[in-house]
Symmetry: C2
Subunit: 384 residues, 2 copies
């Protein structure tokens, strides 16, 4: 038993989302630029006098800037990584000032396809640029400028969020003291891209998609979003986890020879799909899957990931989960090997967890103790 076991943890409490506005055009990787955009963000804890205790938390596909705590008027709307972040939690807001941000192109408050394009007075829709992980990180860096954060004590994320951490370490080595790269891959495999493509085709061919300009029609491509979410969900869970959670359990004890819900797993997927289709924007979904597909820092180095990471100076914690078949431990080891080739300071852990890719979001004691221990060695005053 160590110190982390004895801590009393608490919620980050009531938080208030904030907005930052940016007038200066941001050059995007696609060649276009975007001006007059806003980012929604939240903070937890207090920025210290030397502005050296800030930690940026990057979100994955369907999360947001609401990382921890609750809203005053929505006491059940708990942040997506609330088990990780708060007073006494692995990322301890008593020590660190934590920033969560909704990425550019998102649908949770930051400027995205749903927003009004000031040049036309209409929603951006199909015309919203295809943003990349690199663009998101550049936008996050500008937010850090506004907040007076010259260097993050750490950037942290899981899955697509972890890709942003990698990109921070590459693009802004001096601003990234540590990078916590969790359930990550250095790029998508053909199979990963294939699943994304299924999701995209479901959305793109939904008659209610209207080539991305569905806002004006007062419809949303719900059917496509439902299928996209179902496909995604399957890849987030392990086969074993699905077997133990649902198995072949029948909703009514027997099959009824119809296309209604028969197995529990169908019921679960449909429920998740309906919920998701009710709040997520299809244009954002399409763009996030593309950002995932495109991310490949080694591409411009002839596939040499070590070269891509050569300029990184951060300390790294890389974590993978044994049953994650979306971004398997093997993919994390590619990152570790590339970092070791550059003689970087890297800690690697493969957590034996049954939950598949989603394990990074769950409250696994060994995983959380590891993260807590890693943060314990980070000096909030900026020396290490």
């Amino acid at each position: 038993m160590d110190a982390t076991d004895l801590k009393t943890t608490a919620s980050a409490g009531v938080v208030t989302p904030q907005r930052a506005a940016f007038r200066e055009p941001l050059r995007l990787k696609c060649g276009r630029a975007i001006a007059n955009y806003e980012l929604a963000y939240e903070t937890y804890g207090n920025l210290n006098a030397t502005c050296s205790n800030a930690v940026l938390v990057c979100h994955a596909l369907n999360a947001s800037h609401h990382v921890a705590g609750v809203y005053a008027d929505e006491p059940n709307n708990v942040g997506w990584w609330d088990n990780m972040i708060g007073p006494g939690k692995p990322l301890d807001t008593n020590r660190f000032f934590v920033v969560g941000v909704n990425n550019l192109g998102g649908c949770h408050g930051s400027t995205g396809p749903q927003s009004i394009n000031p040049e036309t007075g209409q929603p951006w829709g199909a015309d919203f640029p295809l943003v990349t992980v690199e663009d998101w990180v550049n936008a996050q860096a500008r937010l850090a400028d506004q907040l007076g954060i010259q260097q993050f004590a750490a950037v942290m994320g899981g899955s697509l969020g972890a890709m942003q951490c990698l990109q921070w370490s590459i693009a802004y080595p001096q601003r990234t003291r540590h990078a916590l790269v969790i359930a990550c891959a250095p790029n998508l495999s053909a199979q990963n891209i294939a699943f994304n493509e299924v999701a995209r085709q479901a959305i793109l061919t939904d008659p209610d998609f209207h080539n991305g300009d569905y806002y004006a029609q007062n419809v949303t491509p719900r059917r496509g979003l439902r299928v996209a979410r179902m496909v995604g969900h399957i890849t987030y869970l392990s086969d074993d986890e699905m077997a133990s959670k649902f198995g072949r359990t029948l909703k009514h004890g027997r099959v009824n020879y119809s296309f209604d819900t028969e197995f529990e797993i169908e019921s679960y997927l449909r429920y998740q799909a309906d919920k998701f289709a009710g709040y997520f924007d299809a244009n954002t979904y399409l763009r996030i899957t593309k950002a995932l597909d495109y991310f490949d820092p080694a591409f411009e180095h002839n596939g040499d990931l070590a070269k891509a990471l050569a300029g990184a100076t951060a300390g790294f914690l890389v974590v993978s989960f044994t049953t994650d078949w979306r971004f398997s431990p093997e993919r994390s080891r590619e990152i570790v090997h590339a970092l070791l080739k550059n003689k970087r300071d890297v800690t690697y852990a493969e957590i034996d967890a049954p939950h598949g890719h989603d394990a990074f979001l769950l409250d696994d004691a060994r995983y959380h103790k590891l993260v807590a221990a890693y943060f314990a060695r980070i000096d909030a005053e900026g020396k290490s």
Copy 2:
């Protein structure tokens, strides 16, 4: 080198599909019955005088009775298991009389949702019953009756086709001398069902589905079928196979920040999806995925597969493929263990192949030699 290496193999040549009509109502597992149905079938080789050399080949999701050879007017339309079946091939039509049959509810010539329901004069559409593996096997048994085949020397199939072989061994032990159960599982896992459910939801929510009665509207739910096929296709290939076949190769050398085809894997999936949506019937697809979901011979034996197989008397060849993540070797071993518990004569091989589930269709030398060797020990005269 053994005898099989020295054989000259040839095509089954030009074959002619045939049709068998059945007037007697067939009781279905769902409780309904179907009368006046037809089955499309093909045969290769010659039935011997004692009718003891017949081998039934059962098809999986999207195949048909066209198992080997070509059609006179379609010389490029090669049967789906032509590499396995023909003169001198592993299933040698010089020795065996091979029967391929399109299952009831199919869309390749047998009575199915597209067919005219004689009672209404309209296509069956949504009213076509949800058929099961058990129903298919019963229908196949009636076809065998018509062909004068009292007992099959072997029944053989891969994937869903292999489930039919298991069912033959259970329902008709005296008519099943051997069962070749390839790339099979004793039932679908929650993950397997989940992928089927994605495919179904894509079809069921396609506005052109019209609750299954789309024939009258002169449309087909192509969008849904496309997505269904893409999902399926991903599960047929291994991650490694996709990586080596497609990797992250770009169609035009660079990304173009659009939703057009960018990666080769996208191009491949779209091509396969379009092709499939052009010929396959959505109502058939829905029913086949349901038949897969429902198959679970152990269900009525409290999950005890050995009890379900207790009455089987066939000799068994069970084959799995190392990279098959749809029906993994572990699932085949469940079948083997259940058979061994019953002291059945069972040969099991786990083929080290990179191709995933689709390996059962491919011309792998070790796999084909194994099947050839198994057939070599079957006495076409019916003694073993």
